[in-house]
């Protein structure tokens, strides 16, 4: 069976890997010059199924845990040190609320926080520790996946390749899996973009082992340690469909949060500012839409709406994609059009 995947972000690459492992012949078409350069590129890479449930549906926790297992098994760069949630002292109410809305964590007092993250000593009186969570660097993860697909599975990558929807039902492939994210807006009634802005800071004065989620009454900010003294700070959530244009206010807010977590971030170098759109449906849950061709080949599957949960959901979603293609499985939570 020949499968064509449109879009080489985290959704496309995880689908590709699962199909490739089953021995199918895969072509990946990517509009950019490299895989994973779309909105996956700006992801935080937190594998935090328990934290996310604070504002997400229970399905996210369930599938997120599945994906967490997948990443630990498939990507050796997955860092399994848990994650920590803190709040400034005047927003302690936010921390209590977060605790009420989530599970699978322990309360930490100041001394225990310092034990886990020595650089945070004396900065917070209380924190929540989600020990089973993990994180990864989205960029190296996607590079790794691309390499594996090419070397181990002989997957063909076609870059600068934009395929119009009219060409999707091409019978040269048994199935075309559309993983274009927000670029597929026209294929759905209700797909919207939720803008996210992020930045990368570099500081050799601060060392963190795990993501720190800093609660803010309006949006959660997280700081995720990367290699080479880098930290990703993200991300805003703005209800608009602007793919570019990072605003001063957003960066000010992100920097402010980083500075509140540790004042040494004030002297950090700004390495990068980034911005893209999270493809989202009204319930912020993903969707699979199956469009069968009247012929034996040329079927199409649209996969979209991973919202802020790209890395957290993609492997679990890819597994459902495989089931839909191979066994015509039906998943009611995500298969009725939003």
């Amino acid at each position: 069976m020949r499968i064509r995947i449109i879009g080489g972000g985290v959704a496309g690459l995880t689908c590709a890997l699962l199909f490739a492992k089953m021995g199918f012949e895969i072509d990946i078409f990517e509009r950019l010059t490299q895989a994973g350069k779309g909105c996956s590129w700006y992801a935080g890479g937190m594998l935090a199924p328990w934290c996310e449930v604070e504002s997400a549906e229970p399905l996210i926790a369930k599938w997120g845990q599945e994906s967490l297992t997948f990443w630990k098994a498939e990507f050796s760069g997955t860092q399994s040190f848990g994650s920590i949630v803190v709040a400034p002292s005047r927003d302690t109410a936010e921390l209590k609320r977060f605790a009420r809305r989530t599970e699978n964590f322990e309360w930490l007092e100041a001394d225990k926080i310092a034990e886990l993250e020595p650089d945070l000593e004396g900065r917070f009186m209380a924190a929540l520790y989600f020990q089973e969570e993990a994180h990864l660097d989205p960029r190296t993860t996607l590079e790794n996946l691309t390499q594996r697909l090419t070397l181990e599975y002989d997957t063909k990558f076609h870059y600068n390749a934009e395929i119009s929807e009219a060409e999707f039902s091409d019978p040269a492939w048994d199935w075309t899996i559309d993983c274009r994210g927000f670029s597929a807006q026209a294929s759905f009634k209700n797909l919207r973009g939720v803008k996210g802005e992020m930045l990368v800071l570099k500081s050799s004065e601060i060392h963190l082992k795990r993501p720190i989620r800093f609660l803010h009454p309006r949006f959660p900010v997280y700081i995720i340690p990367r290699n080479d003294n880098m930290f990703m700070v993200g991300a805003t959530m703005i209800e608009n469909s602007e793919r570019t244009r990072i605003t001063a206010r957003s960066i000010m807010e992100l920097l402010n949060a980083a500075y509140a977590v540790h004042p040494a971030f004030g002297e950090a170098e700004i390495i990068e500012m980034g911005c893209d759109l999270r493809p989202s449906f009204p319930d912020n849950l993903p969707r699979i839409k199956r469009i069968e061709n009247k012929f034996a080949k040329g079927h199409v599957l649209h996969v979209n709406g991973l919202y802020r949960h790209g890395f957290l959901l993609a492997p679990a979603l890819a597994k459902r994609v495989v089931d839909v293609v191979l066994t015509n499985a039906y998943f009611k939570e995500i298969m009725d059009e939003a």
């Binding site: 504002s55 997400a56 549906e57 609320r97 009420r100 809305r101 919207r192 973009g193 803008k195 009454p217 309006r218 703005i238 209800e239 608009n240 469909s241 602007e242 244009r245 605003t247 206010r249 449906f281 009204p282 319930d283 912020n284 849950l285 939003a338």
Partner: protein, 265 residues
């Protein structure tokens, strides 16, 4: 419908107004608004607009709720920003309604009442139906009415604080001072009893966002607020009794044995 609330050119059967931000998802937001039968929803534009009104898909979702849309100028700190945002809102939502916020203090998000009056004057002259987010200050309120506002929206407490009615004395005197002006409590409510208290006091409506959006179950909380608003309104219309210092039994007790025996023990 006899108890309809008249706000500018509209008659509303519900006295609950809800915000549209901070919900877990637009679907939950829509459900909360539908199930609570909120009469008005307010929506922000300042940050969502971007360069080319890129907030369109979310705004269409809000328009699709079939309730009155009250665009707001949340996030505006100057008269100019607020006026520009209001003008864009009129285009986007095809309404003259504008909830005017000019924020004075980043920490408490309290209104800058000087900027508020200035912006209100400009917008009223330009044909807007202005809903000013203000404090309980009576002289500011009078100034806003002179500028052409026909509605006042004093805060209950700082935005998002959930503290309820911080200054009941001030709010009561505002109600007494402007018996014929529609008064809406805007911001600071945390639980339905706060809304009921405002309505019992004779306020015409309440507007809130965080208390519903950040509740564990926003849909249930929105319904809770709707019931409380109705309860408080009925209490106000029913002319509640005066509290007194002494007990006042509802049945006479003189001449009745009042011991154990009378309860059949």
């Amino acid at each position: 419908m006899s108890d309809a609330l008249k706000l500018y050119d509209a008659e509303l059967s519900s006295r609950l107004m809800l915000g549209t931000s901070l919900y877990p998802s637009p679907a939950i937001m829509a459900d909360a608004i539908l199930k609570s039968k909120a009469g008005v929803v307010t929506v922000s534009l300042r940050r969502e607009a971007g360069n080319s009104r890129a907030g369109q898909s979310f705004w269409s979702l809000v328009k699709g709720l079939n309730t009155h849309v009250l665009p707001n100028t949340a996030g505006c700190h100057s008269v100019k920003e607020a006026v520009t945002t209001a003008q864009m809102a009129r285009d986007v939502f095809e309404t003259n309604w504008i909830k005017l916020e000019v924020i004075g203090n980043q920490d408490t998000l309290q209104p800058d009442v000087f900027g508020l009056c200035e912006a209100a004057e400009i917008l009223c002259r330009d044909g807007f139906d202005v809903f000013p987010y203000t404090t309980e200050d009576l002289s500011v309120a009078e100034k806003l009415l002179r500028c052409g506002c026909k509605i006042l929206m004093p805060w209950g407490a700082p935005i998002g604080s959930g503290r309820g009615l911080n200054n009941t004395f001030g709010l009561r005197s505002m109600r007494a001072h402007f018996p014929d002006v529609p008064l809406i409590i805007d911001a600071g409510l945390g639980v339905p009893s706060h809304a009921a208290a405002a309505m019992e006091m004779g306020y015409d409506a309440v507007l809130l966002n965080t208390a519903v959006a950040k509740a564990g179950d926003p849909v249930a909380m929105a319904q809770g607020f709707a019931l409380a608003v109705e309860a408080g309104r009925l209490s106000y219309l029913a002319d509640a009794m005066e509290p007194r210092d002494m007990a006042f039994p509802s049945t006479p007790v003189i001449g009745q044995p009042f011991g154990k025996d009378s309860f059949g023990a």
